[in-house]
């Protein structure tokens, strides 16, 4: 094939698929590069299950109203708040059109999953989860005429001036060049690149588990940086949750995460508590626990609970340590029995009697304990007792490339690349700083996949930097 492709999309997750479908609605020759074999396609999207969107009326899948202002407040309340207010507010505003776009492209919905407390009003669940979403988008893309190459790793980008002229790929056919009129980088973060993480986290990175595939090594991000792309986001910015310490190093996904924390006490390797387990409703706080544990000695922590609360959260995938006294649970976890028993005893004494209610901030708290437990605090006194060791499970890193309102990648020299666009996790650092809001990664990917896909199609059609592309990107993103 000698003709350049109109648009080459690098990455076959949600953002890449949305960009490819959007681009194909505007130009004819669209190629999507998927690094994984077909059976494992979809990157981190395989592990997703819902998308957080503004909606001014409720329906069967998201009962109630979730306004722009409320989503904006929620976004401001996690970590250090939005990174770039302009781009973040654009994301929130355009999120309102995401569900209808998804429905129009074949996605089906289901009621909020059982056991996902507090998510039903704000987040829409797609039927069957992320792999079903990926399968649907592939069907839609194939019907539209998008070409997909599997087992195809984008290794490098070739530039002439401020324009990318070709993508260098390796795959079953060896190393080849693919010429493109415009490129969308939707290749994700660098969370599976432990060496890169070590630059910012030191040896601690060796104890991080990665919830998605091992292919998310940030190769395209590095290529963009070396071509002069501007950085967005914090070096240590990531979405990371507490997962079972026995999880596989890569790709353990949703089943390995632990929801016991708000109903338990969490101790570190010394058997000491270190953070308020009941600070906020779980969907608003689950994403800080990866970071919390990353800051503890050995990057490990232990959730300990009793029989009273054992059925209040999703059952863990791996069996917990079970025993009739706290000391035995501690020993089973490899902890000092005396230290853990002292911590639990002190906690039990500090619990103030209240009306326990897992469905809301119930104010059941401790008094005179440091750190406090602000909600759902009950004495841990009913055998059997349970314990599970947890490690940080990184979902994706935020540090990426700075973009314009049209999704075009900015250069360090304050210029822009004429025909290079970014969508998804690779540009999430424009929006997220250090905290995460459940379901917002898919929102970012869908909103910016549409913007970048339309922008790239415009750039390919115009054949020259800048011309008409901005206008069509805006129309595409809002449409």
């Amino acid at each position: 094939m000698t003709d350049p492709w109109d648009v080459v999309v690098i990455g076959g997750g949600n953002a890449g698929l949305v960009a490819a479908i959007t681009a194909r609605e505007r130009v004819s020759r669209v190629l999507l590069l998927e690094r994984a074999p077909a059976a494992l396609r979809g990157g981190n999207t395989r592990h997703t299950r819902n998308v957080r969107c503004v909606h001014d009326t409720g329906d069967a899948y998201t009962p109630g109203v979730y306004s722009y202002d409320e989503l904006w407040r929620d976004l401001c309340a996690v970590g250090d708040g939005p990174a770039d207010e302009g781009l973040a507010s654009r994301t929130v505003r355009l999120s309102a059109s995401v569900p209808s776009w998804m429905s129009a492209h074949g996605v089906r919905w289901q009621p909020p999953l059982t056991g996902t407390l507090h998510l039903g009003r704000t987040n829409r669940f797609f039927l069957g989860g992320g792999k079903a979403l990926v399968n649907t988008y592939h069907r839609t893309a194939a019907a539209a005429g998008v070409t997909v190459r599997y087992d195809c790793t984008a290794e490098d980008l070739e530039f002439s001036g401020d324009r990318c002229s070709a993508v260098v790929v390796s795959g079953t056919g060896g190393r080849t060049r693919i010429e493109a009129r415009a490129v969308v980088c939707a290749s994700g973060g660098f969370e599976a690149n432990i060496g890169w993480l070590r630059q910012y986290w030191g040896e601690a990175a060796d104890n991080f588990l990665v919830r998605g595939p091992a292919t998310n090594d940030g190769r395209m991000l590095a290529a963009l940086y070396s071509a002069g792309a501007a950085r967005a986001g914090q070096e240590r910015g990531f979405h990371s949750v507490a997962i079972d310490a026995r999880s596989p190093r890569f790709d353990g996904g949703i089943a390995t995460r632990l929801d016991s924390i708000p109903f338990s006490v969490v101790v570190n390797a010394h058997g000491e508590r270190f953070y308020d387990e009941g600070e906020e409703l779980w969907p608003k706080r689950y994403a800080i626990w990866g970071r919390n544990i990353a800051g503890q000695p050995g990057q490990i922590a232990y959730s300990i609970w009793d029989a009273k609360v054992n059925r209040l959260f999703l059952p863990p995938m791996y069996p917990p340590v079970v025993a009739d006294d706290i000391g035995a649970v501690a020993t089973g976890l490899g902890l000092d029995a005396r230290a853990v028993t002292e911590t639990v005893t002190a906690y039990n004494k500090a619990v103030v009697a209240g009306s326990f209610d897992p469905s809301r901030l119930d104010g059941c708290r401790t008094s005179g304990l440091e750190p406090p437990k602000s909600n759902w605090a009950q004495p841990i006194d009913t055998p059997p007792f349970y314990g599970i060791a947890m490690r940080p499970g990184i979902t994706f890193t935020f540090m990426g490339v700075r973009i314009t309102e049209e999704g075009r990648v900015r250069r360090e020299d304050d210029g822009v690349f004429g025909n290079v666009f970014a969508a998804g996790e690779i540009m999430s650092g424009n929006i997220l700083s250090s905290g995460y809001l459940g379901g917002f990664g898919l929102t970012i990917g869908t909103v910016w996949g549409r913007i970048a896909g339309a922008g790239a199609a415009g750039a390919a059609a115009a054949g020259a930097p800048g011309v008409a592309a901005a206008g069509s990107a805006t129309a595409g993103g809002g449409g």
């Binding site: 074999p37 077909a38 059976a39 494992l40 396609r41 979809g42 395989r46 592990h47 299950r49 089906r108 289901q110 009621p111 999953l113 059982t114 056991g115 669940f125 039927l127 069957g128 989860g129 992320g130 792999k131 079903a132 399968n135 592939h138 069907r139 194939a142 997909v148 599997y150 432990i194 060496g195 040896e203 060796d206 104890n207 310490a245 026995r246 596989p248 790709d251 996904g253 949703i254 089943a255 390995t256 050995g298 990057q299 490990i300 054992n310 059925r311 999703l314 059952p315 863990p316 995938m317 791996y318 069996p319 340590v321 089973g332 976890l333 490899g334 060791a389």
Partner: protein, 413 residues
């Protein structure tokens, strides 16, 4: 890369390949429990069918629970297609395969123990089919000879042309068909009772649960994939299987109704066969036979296509239903989504019903011709054989699945 800091001792879920099990069934249930424990921690599939909500109501799984879930599974395969943990992922989740293996085991478990090893039951069923067919044919011809010599006179009136009693005397017909039918009904009732006890079933006396189960069975709610339809025979969503199953089920019921209508006409209204085309027995028979031919024929085609997908090769690659490479790879990789022995029972049921329908319609078409007697003989032989072996084919799923639906609807949400 340096190693991880010391982890607590890993205790991964039981893996039957790694741990010697007491019996093959223990290994099977351990594997089902391993997979379902991961499913219960994930829950992405709960919108597809009744299996996952039922799983979520359980924190620990007994073998009775696993059997119940396996029979609640309608084998639509949507969960497998949607599963990010399906092979080649190391979690190797494949509910359709493990649940069909559990069904196969439990189907054997609750049937009367034959004096042959369980592994040879497929061969036994085939042998039973052949021998019963031969016996039935003999019976028909003997009966036919009797009829010629005055069976009609024994009933007090000569059988009309096109009447079965020209060929076989009524008592002989009743015995030839009734005995195997009675045997099957007794076996199925007994097996159902054993299944019901083993799974801790409840709700059979609860009208709401019965009504809901009947509705779900009639509409095949659990073959709708939560609106997405099924990933069968390949992994593209399709309503084909649900619709074809409808033809089979309603076709079968129409044939039963035809027989009942004929019995009423003959024994209550005193109107002996043959019946005109525009009569309840014949119209119901035509509709039922046609439904069975369309449904069974279509399902056999779907099964062939699923088998072709599993076998791989150029045929699979050329199959339009397998054009998506990911789904094709997945289909090729998992050679047996359905337990092979269970698949053979599926073939046995569909082939048997198809044979009944074709020979039944032929007896109608040819009832005024010289071929009537031999065709009726073949049809009756097929009826006798199918009735006799029904519990050893997939026909048993009617009993277990309906009981599982009743149980499911009786559980508190």
């Amino acid at each position: 890369m340096t190693g991880k800091a010391a982890n607590p001792p890993a205790s991964p879920p039981a893996n039957p390949a790694a741990s010697p099990a007491a019996s093959p069934f223990a290994g099977l249930f351990a594997e089902a429990e391993r997979q379902l424990t991961i499913c219960n921690a994930c829950r992405y599939c709960e919108g597809y069918c009744a299996v996952f909500p039922a799983l979520e109501r359980r924190r620990e799984l007994t073998s009775g629970d696993i059997t119940h879930l396996a029979d609640l599974c309608h084998d639509c395969r949507d969960c497998y297609t949607a599963c990010m943990y399906a092979p080649p992922h190391e979690f190797a989740i494949n509910p359709p395969a493990v649940l069909s293996a559990v069904r196969r085991h439990t189907y054997d478990e609750y049937l009367p123990r034959l004096p042959w090893p369980a592994s040879r039951r497929g061969a036994i069923a085939a042998a039973a089919l052949a021998s019963v067919a031969v016996l039935a044919s003999l019976a028909v011809w003997i009966g036919g000879a009797g009829a010629a010599g005055g069976a009609g006179a024994a009933r007090g009136s000569a059988a009309a042309a096109g009447s079965p009693y020209q060929v076989i005397a009524y008592p002989a017909l009743l015995a030839a068909v009734g005995l195997p039918a009675l045997w099957s009904v007794v076996v199925m009732a007994r097996s159902g009772a054993r299944y019901w006890r083993a799974t801790g079933g409840r709700g059979l006396t609860r009208p709401t649960a019965l009504r809901a189960a009947l509705r779900q069975a009639a509409t095949l709610r659990n073959l709708r994939g939560g609106g997405a339809e099924c990933s069968y025979p390949a992994d593209e969503p399709s309503a084909a299987r649900r619709r074809l199953h409808g033809f089979v089920a309603w076709g079968f019921l129409a044939c039963v109704a035809s027989t009942v209508a004929a019995a009423i006409s003959q024994d209550i209204a005193g109107d002996p066969p043959p019946y005109p085309v525009l009569s309840a027995p014949v119209l119901l028979g035509i509709a039922g036979g046609a439904g069975l031919i369309v449904g069974c024929g279509g399902l056999l085609v779907l099964r062939r296509r699923a088998a072709r997908a599993a076998a791989g090769g150029d045929a699979a690659r050329a199959d339009p239903a397998l054009k998506d490479p990911a789904l094709r790879d997945q289909a090729l990789r998992d050679q047996a989504l359905e337990d092979p022995a269970l698949a053979r029972r599926g073939y046995a049921l569909l082939t048997g019903l198809l044979l009944l329908a074709v020979t039944g319609l032929l007896t109608l078409v040819l009832r005024d011709s010289a071929a009537f007697a031999p065709v009726l003989g073949i049809h009756l032989a097929a009826v006798v054989a199918c009735f006799a072996i029904a519990p050893y084919t997939k026909f048993m799923h009617v009993v277990y699945r309906f009981l599982a639906l009743v149980h499911d609807n009786a559980e508190p949400i």
